[in-house]
Symmetry: C2
Amino acid sequence: MSPATTLDEDIEEGLDAPLATVGGPAPAVRRARAWLSRAAEPGSVAFWRFVEDAGPVQAVRQLRAGRAPDAVRALVGARVEEDATAADLLRAQRCGARLLVPEDDEWPALALHGLVLTTAGEPADPRAHSPRTTALVPPVALWVRGPARLDALADRSVAVVGARASTAYGEHVAGELGHRLGQRGWTVVSGGAFGIDAAAHRGALAAGGPTIAVLACGVDRPYPAAHGALFHRIAEDGLLISEWPPGAAPHKHRFLVRNRLIAALTRGTVVVEAAARSGAQATARRAQRLGRQVLVVPGPVTSAMSVGCHELLRDPDLDAVLVADAAHVVEAVGRLGEDLADAVKRPTSPRDGLSDIACRVLDACPVRIGVSPERLAATAGCDVLEVLRVLPALELAELVQMTTTGWRLAPAPGPPVAP
Amino acid sequence: MSPATTLDEDIEEGLDAPLATVGGPAPAVRRARAWLSRAAEPGSVAFWRFVEDAGPVQAVRQLRAGRAPDAVRALVGARVEEDATAADLLRAQRCGARLLVPEDDEWPALALHGLVLTTAGEPADPRAHSPRTTALVPPVALWVRGPARLDALADRSVAVVGARASTAYGEHVAGELGHRLGQRGWTVVSGGAFGIDAAAHRGALAAGGPTIAVLACGVDRPYPAAHGALFHRIAEDGLLISEWPPGAAPHKHRFLVRNRLIAALTRGTVVVEAAARSGAQATARRAQRLGRQVLVVPGPVTSAMSVGCHELLRDPDLDAVLVADAAHVVEAVGRLGEDLADAVKRPTSPRDGLSDIACRVLDACPVRIGVSPERLAATAGCDVLEVLRVLPALELAELVQMTTTGWRLAPAPGPPVAP
């Protein structure tokens, strides 16, 4: 992409080019996704499926030419005529941000695969789709501000969320959790809001740990404005990320749409304080639908700000785990990886110490041509979410590897061969 | 029993008399159990089994004559020569107490049946028995002080236990729980100790609700002495009960032995505050072994007095339920009874609304000759503890009735018969 050319010129040029080369995605792909990120509000199943099926470049071309399906055109509306891509990309560049697209290596594909799966579960009829605020659909692109790699930070990350109207108790606990998780090398992901979110970010920063604020507005104008200094520090040591292009305003419904990303990017969601029927509870339920651990910090039963937490812990369908400190959190979200790491150090079979599911997934991995997690699930006779949960650990243990076609067994080290 | 006669005279006389008549147990039975309650420390599997097998009168006779098994004689030791029964019974009478024996109608047989079952699970070899402090063995008799009937009070009762070194938060919550449970007609059972116990008793008394203090010393000299006024009020409106005869001192190990009764007498145990590895936790674990609900009030994770509570809630084997108020407690321990009460009001079959287990137990009940809960469990294909859990509700719904031989179906009301 060169700002000197127009969007449509770039798109026409990109039609014949491969989507990605060794150097990364084609310029047209990034410009197309920049346009798509402004063209429609995120969270629409129909829109994401359209982009996925047509590919980003074709999707833009069809929309611009008025040849996209009615349901998708309706989502874009009058914005179809506009093109702010050059300005958006320039604005991002000026604040130290970049546009991350699924075609990038850095795209947190594994974490977001949970969203791909939940979207696959949506019905075919667009009228029956989950509403945009609750649909668990992947982003078409992410605006990312900060020096760190998103995929690396998301790999060992935990969401810490809670009430804006938090108490001193909640802020103390969130800050302490953020700090201890940061010390242990875990990324603290939150929403940058007042109260629990800010306390968690600050705790992580104080420990020198990475932290990610997932925003419901442009990464160049983080909201709330009173957190300007906090966001500045996060952008220096961690990442500010958003589905919305630079300059986007923090509309109320965008927070609800944003919440799914906090749950999806992390291995588990810790709720520190939540009122009855609150947003933090909704985030926790989304985490559960995505197969993530729901972890809840209790509080005094006399505190209105802990009522939502206790509701979560009392819900038998949610299977939430009570956590009182960072050690409990790491135990819940990190156990398999650590167990595996130990097992691999032993001189015996690296399979020792693997969970039953992990063994079955490993057995299901082909030797040569990599396959999708869905295929592994079918062969292993387990749930896709279970497969996604054990794959990172198996990869960490160098038992499997990801290829362009999917997952396969890692080549065995084998005995040294004589020259 | 008449204090004018000696123990041995009463015993000789009682040998040929039936254990109980319409008017209650024979005098010799009560005197024998009064002697047994002082002869050996409670909590011994071997001693309880000996009394159960020989019957109380024969048990005393064999012990006094030196013909009891060695293991049992060793438990009694030099006390075999003593006889304080007349003095104990008189002392009890003077403080408004009485000796309740298993042969009495008022004996809380259903509640204590859990202890009979756990004792049946003890090995045959006395050397392998659970230690006295943890053995879940029934009492041989109970000294009861107060006007209420123990069986009636125990029927709808909940234990509220917790730390002696409680915080203002814990005492507030325990008092509030005691009050609300009392208002709803539930009996609050606790240990009369400082801290949570006292707050729960006081809350119940303030609501005009019944409350039971299960003591580790004589009911005429309740401990701690600073709770004199509290115990006086409990004895007026509720019950003070103890396995130890009047005058018995509150030795430390007696509290551990006593704790099993708090768990056994109630439908569930609520732990309000507990330090790590505390007595309240031990009581909760006993409640679980007895098939009772373990209910736990959370607190600030920053409070040492809630660490034990959070440990209980994190224990996957314990299946503890988080409760934040009395409504949660009643929902957990009273649900079946209430559901049944509703179901019975409906014009359709009284079986509507029964749980699966309740239906199976009902189907297992014979029409004429009552059978034991164990027999019902075998027929219904479920656990004896599950049978014991549903029988009270089935009885409440007038679907089953207890006879001298056990449980059977209640006679159907049937259509009115023409004269």
